[in-house]
Amino acid sequence: MFGRKRKLDDFTSEIEAHIQLEIERLREQGLSEDEARATARRSFGNVMQTEERFYESGRWLAWGHLSQDARYALRMLRKSPGFTAVAILTIALGIGATTAIFSVVDATLLHPLPYRQPEQLVSIRADLPGAGAQDVGMSEPEWQDLQRSGIFEYVSPTWFDENNLTGSSQPARVRILIVAPNYFALLGVKTQLGRAFNPQDHSPGLILEVVISDGLWKRAFGSDPHVLDKSVRLDSDLYRIVGVMPPGFDSPGRTAEERDIEVWAATSFYGTPLPDNPPRNSRFLPTAVARLKPGLTTAQAQSRVNTLVASLQKQFPGDYPLQSAWSLRLVPLQERVVGNVRQSLILLFGGVALVLLIGCVNVANLQLARSSARGREMAVRQALGAARTRLTRQLLTESMLLSLLGGIAGLLVLLCTKQSLLRLLPENFPRLSDVSISWSVLLFALVSSLVTGAIFGLAPALHAGRLDLTHALKEAARGSTGSGEQTRTRRILVITEFALSVVMMIAAGLLLRSFWDLQNVRLGFSPQNVMAVRTRLPSPNDPRNDLYSNAAQETPFLREVLRRTRTLPGVEEVAIGDTASIPLDQGLRELKVISEGQFLMTVEGRDTQGDLPSVVERSSVTPDYFHLLGIPLLRGRFFGELDDDKATQVAVINEAFARTYWPSQDPLGRRFKRNRVDSPWITVVGIIANARTESLAEADVPQIYLSLYQSASRRLAIFLRGHLDAAAISTQVSAQVQSVDPTLPLSGAQTLNETVSASLAERRFSMEMTALFALTALLLAGLGIYGVISYMVSQRTHEIGIRIALGADRKNILRMVLRQGLGLAIAGAAVGLAGALIVSHLMAGLLYGVQPTDPLTFAGVAFLLIGVALLACYIPARHAIRVDALIALRHE
């Protein structure tokens, strides 16, 4: 029958039956038992041969060969445990590391976001390229225009906030996302309990309903199935819980904070507490997600959005001045979520694949050395009639087996260390929770094991197939092994290895230099002994309940907090600023999740700014902020206690701002204002030195500071300098703050050194990983060259012995051996440098302060590698000069 394999047993018993039948027939004809048996056997012919023919006819043969080869390979591997251990270890390292990185690549770059038809989801970003501003946010009328444009099925602005939640078992600070009522319909997700918002709802103000996350439901409500009847208070407002999202649902976002939303509230973004008719140029909606109409590609949608933008600009020239060049950008949501780590991940994956490749080359080298030692065995087997293809297949099976064992070992190690490996990733890494050893990761490990085995097994296997019998047998008898061709192959392998490690080392070197430069950059402020603790003032929906609606109401609170915290033990200085004033904070503002910390301005005496950006970074701070951070005053004055809501609005600017806007004039006393109706003029009273508080990588970002007493903010950071007890400070500060207002939650106590260090987390991660891979590569390459040279020396022991016997200088011999190694290293380095030039240009975006062609890194790496090569050759070279002429000759 087709496909069904018949067992040999069955076949044998059939033959047995045949012979029995034949014997019986012959007996009937009158033959004796013995005669009958003999005749039956004779007329059947060779039973064994028949069985063999049956065996060879089926797939049994291939399977038999394979299992025979595998058994033989296992035996051979057991016989040389040293080689086996080294090979398996190398492969395990390579496959384990590659699979680890792949699991991250798989989760972040390859897996679509877990929403309905995620390819139709986009993030809408608004830019003012003319004013040098990106992600400026959106206004409510603009949202309505997009909704009606026919390009999108749904558009929902999202607005991140933190809130104090009461009404559950315990008061808690929760992350809340304010969205349009269509948000869940847009993502195409369903609640596990209750319902989502009604997507058609367009009532004014906040809809007094919330959807909560599975986590909050479990944590705060003990998975109460009747939670839907309950109400919770967010700040001071009462909301009804209408739905619970299923476990594992995350809002789309780059960081854990953005994703891990606990409460969703909905509004149509007009009506108290928001303006009833929000103006077109008030871009208070930080960002938006949208679902494209079915069938539209992002590119098609983008071109229709461009048309819409052009017509809006014509319709409202006052709101969209031509020089600011307002534009809307559609970014696929996946790109928005993982876009910033793509380059690092690709670099890492490339790096780890290179390490694997170098590992392959090393194992291939070991195999070759071994196969030349086994040259005699191969030759004898061939002489005895083994087919060449069969020998090649045998060796390939051995390699495959090795790499599979290595792959399994690597995978096991990976599974055991998964948790600690995940901790190596920066906390803010996108889709971190999706990283897992999935089927596709397992498949990847399997395939890469097999490919690895094929790569490192091919060269030795082909060599075995091409063995010159007479030569091999003769050579083997003489005790020297290996053909010229084999030596050539091994040299090429070592050169490849060196070239690959040069590429790795240069990539690592460039990243290291970038990181070093960034870490040692002159900050311009002093983060030592400074801690920041955050709090947030409540903003109730009803303005009548708002205790902090303006600066006049907020200032007494700020002064009282300052007064009380100043008395805490160890505290020398205290200041308060908005969250934008925390230096190098990788916060939500940076991610453009909340719109704060920037504004669009007009400078007095200029109608248009020409090429100058009119969006600037701004923070609001109390007077002692600058002194506390050690930012020096260049001219004018800092803020004073009198710069409050009753006085004229004042600003302190940095040097970069002064040089950008008043290059040839004295900025003191000059005025600018915010581009909003009724915004007052702000007078410059002081100029401070540039400090890298916005970005470590950029030296002179124009910045303005406003007095917190004049320009209030609800998101506050309390800065404390002194010899602080980091563990206790958070509770101490919160006790003091809550004695002023008991409802205020405190969070995020961090030293500024931690903040600075956290801002480098992603760079540190890719730098460390690349450096680790590069070191491994260097080590492997060193081992490789050591192997080749010591093999060469052992091969030439005889020759060296003769030379020494004939009176050759031992120094010459040393030089000869080293020259061999050096030649390989230089060839490898040359090829590697060329490759590194390509790679370093590809990773230019990850560099800081160093050119992709940095001569120091290139030369340094080349010399380092050649040094390692010399060192690796020196050990066998010393063996060479110690060759005892007598012994070497007797070796014959």
Binding site: F2, E14, H18, L21, R25, T50, R53, S57
Partner: protein, 118 residues
Amino acid sequence: MSTQDAKERLELLQGTLDLLILRTLIFGSQHGQGIARAIQQTSQEELLVEHGALYPALQRLEERGWISAKWGVSSNNRKARFYSLTPAGRKQLVKETNKWNRLTGAIARILGSEAAEG
């Protein structure tokens, strides 16, 4: 039957064993030894069938789906594997028989004409 008998018998031409097996099975299912006997008897002991060669051929035919096999009990109560013709095998037999007839006819014509000339 003795060894001498066997030496005088005709060896089978390549590829004809399949045809003979199929033809033998047209009378009903039969086990291997039975097929061997049948071929020898029908050919009036002219053909030499090495029994050992029969089984790989049976295996091949079975794999092609021209015959099917089932373990059963022989007339003298021995376990044996019985082969029978499948519909596909029947078609194949017709095809092969035609081919064979054309072949032998052609060869006979050639040999016949030579004989006439000679």
